[in-house]
């Protein structure tokens, strides 16, 4: 493992030098179909007995041409594809995509839309972390934590179904606003969720935090130092668990994390960012659990303070669809509707490029959009946190045993669709 001088690994005994350098090595192919619940990843491990000497990662088994597809779909159609990137928290990708596109269009969304988008972004973060923690526990043999996590995720699915009509792939945001406004029933469901999640989280903590098996399998495993984390490009809970003090919601605020988000001097949303200096799998697990609690506190504040007003920016700028009464009962409304939906029409941004990033559960999810003035993006690049985070994987597992490979993989929350796009 590469280490920068001055940083020591307090758990160095978890890795050990071979007694017989160059002894019998055998190769094990792990994947792309493998028992760990992380879809299509392939590792070719060179093993000295049980210990990994070298790990080569092969990816691309889910490469689906997302970026090429982005050049043929317009800005509102592509949100459907973004859902399918980080599919454990789909609505977060929608929000991130339209964040970048609205930066390209240089428009500001309404305060109500900002609050609801922030709310959904935090729900998506909880959704992602619950699955990550659950799947990590499942891979280590703790099936119950997985079931508890999934049960709570079902409640989030109910909320997104109420909001956007679809429980899983919401495709909820649009340029300048969203598909649908939040209903009172949805708000009630969110309040109920805030009430019901803490006991479930306590159950998961009771199962795992001081569980001898879980701790022994995760402490000291997959350590990465702060300097290496930055150099390898890690962001998100992986970086924060290694002591990197960086969170886009605090450092480059957007939506309700920024001051004056409603244009009338409202203060930014107050929350804490958990940072750990453990740097191993256990540290990442703790950071994620604490992030869920912080997100829950944020949702509690946001859901009580949704400002009234329109969800979409004014239809006059020809950025959002007009109200249906206008569409059906006035010729201008009808023309405006067709201007938006016909394939040779649609949005016409300026020529230029824009990058917009959100802090999602995996890290910095950004979209780099290049526009040539047409209704489709010229280049729709996704900055995928899973891809960039996964690069350091061989350095994390060299020296560990095969079962530790699974533990480290579980802690990195690699979503294959975001990895391969």
């Amino acid at each position: 493992m590469t280490q920068v001088a001055g940083q020591s690994n307090p758990f160095a005994s978890a890795t050990y030098a071979p007694e017989e350098p160059g002894g019998d090595l055998w190769t094990l192919n792990l994947g792309p179909q493998h028992p760990a619940t992380h879809t299509t990843l392939r590792h070719v491990l060179e093993l000295d007995g049980e210990r990994v000497v070298k790990c080569t990662v092969h990816i691309g088994y889910l490469h689906s041409g997302f970026e090429k597809q982005g050049e043929h779909l317009n800005y509102n159609q592509y949100v459907v594809i973004t859902d399918r990137m980080n599919y454990v928290s789909p609505i977060a990708n929608n929000i991130a995509w339209h964040h970048a596109v609205e930066r390209l269009f240089d428009i500001e969304i309404t305060p109500r839309c900002k609050v609801v988008r922030t709310l959904m972004a935090e729900l998506a973060r909880i959704q992602d972390h619950l699955l990550c923690v659950g799947a990590a526990a499942l891979d280590l043999g703790g099936f119950t934590a997985f079931l508890y996590g999934f049960n709570e995720r079902e409640r989030i699915y109910d909320i997104t179904e109420e909001l956007s009509g679809s429980r899983f792939h919401t495709s909820w945001t649009r340029v300048g606003g969203a598909l649908s406004d939040i209903s009172p029933r949805c708000i009630e469901m969110i309040r109920e969720f805030v009430r019901v999640l803490p006991p479930a989280l306590d159950d998961v903590e009771k199962l795992l935090n001081r569980n001898r098996i879980f701790v022994e399998r995760t402490r000291g495993i997959g350590y990465i130092s702060t300097e290496n984390a930055i150099n390898w490009g890690l962001t998100g809970p992986l970086a924060r668990a290694s002591g990197v003090r960086r969170d886009l919601r605090k450092d480059e605020p957007y939506l309700c994390y920024a001051d004056n988000w409603d244009g009338k001097g409202a203060t930014a949303l107050d929350f804490k960012v958990p940072i750990s200096d453990l740097g191993d799998v256990y540290g990442r697990y703790l950071v994620r659990l604490e992030e869920i609690r912080q997100s829950l506190a944020m949702i509690d504040k946001l859901v009580e303070n949704i400002p009234p007003g329109p969800m979409n920016v004014l239809a006059g700028d020809k950025l959002t669809l007009p109200d249906k009464r206008e569409t059906y009962f006035s010729i201008e409304g009808l023309i405006h509707h067709f201007e938006q939906v016909m394939t040779n029409r649609g949005h016409r941004p300026q020529v230029g490029e824009a990058y917009g990033a959100n802090e999602t559960a995996n890290g910095e999810l950004g979209y780099y959009v290049v526009s040539d003035g047409g209704n489709c993006a010229y280049r729709a690049r996704c900055r995928p946190p899973s891809f960039i985070n996964y690069q350091c994987f061989p350095t994390l597992v060299e020296g560990h045993q095969i079962s530790d490979v699974i533990a480290v993989l579980g802690s990195m929350n690699i979503i294959a669709a975001e990895l391969d796009r």
Partner: protein
């Protein structure tokens, strides 16, 4: 009158024919009641989960939608121990040979569910990298539509497989002469299909 001779008037049954048909019918009932019953209620899925449908597959296995009611919660990741392959998610061209190999490694009898729009037809991804439907290169029994299909839809697909398994190896009634002991001439199919247990035909 031995078995195997066609009488001059085929609608007239001989008592040997009646005995054979009744025996066949009894074997069918036994088969449906024991072997097929056991198979349909303990289908062990091979979760070939590649993408988003994999999460819905996990949700089907989780507590709310509980695939364990169907005996199918034992999602063994080794093809040797599974009988139902659920292809959940889009299959990239790079992944396709892997899928083929795993399908070939599964032991008979085996069935395949193609879950989700991407596995059925390529879904939203009509591009250079995605196979436009797994049935292009491997046999599929049940297609479950949706993007992703709700867990209830997947369970409906599993129930469809159960219906297929129920009737596996059971000759349809009209082939058996409707229970009246008539032996109808059955034309051989163009591609020989092996029905029933190996060694029996």
């Amino acid at each position: 009158m031995g078995l195997g001779t066609t009488p001059a008037a085929p609608h007239l049954a001989s008592k040997d024919d009646v005995l054979t048909t009744r025996l066949d019918h009894l074997m069918d009932i036994l088969r449906q009641g024991t072997v097929n019953w056991a198979r349909r209620n303990s289908l062990w899925p091979m979760p070939f989960a590649t993408a988003c449908c994999g999460i819905e597959l996990m949700a089907t296995g989780a507590s709310r939608y509980d695939i364990a009611r169907f005996g199918a919660e034992a999602m063994r990741f080794t093809p040797r121990q599974c009988d139902l392959m659920i292809v959940a998610g889009r299959v990239a061209i790079k992944m396709m040979p892997v899928l083929q190999r795993i399908y070939l490694q599964m032991t008979e009898p085996k069935w395949v569910i193609s879950m989700g729009a991407c596995a059925c037809t390529g879904g939203v991804f009509d591009n250079y990298a995605v196979v436009q439907g797994v049935d292009q290169f491997m046999p599929v029994d049940v297609y479950v539509p949706g993007c992703p299909p709700r867990p209830e839809t997947l369970l409906e697909g599993v129930m469809a497989i159960q219906r297929i398994v129920d009737n596996d190896g059971i000759r349809p009634s009209r082939e058996r002469g409707g229970g009246r002991g008539l032996r109808l001439a059955v034309t051989a199919p163009a591609v020989p299909v092996q029905l029933g247990l190996p060694g029996e035909n």
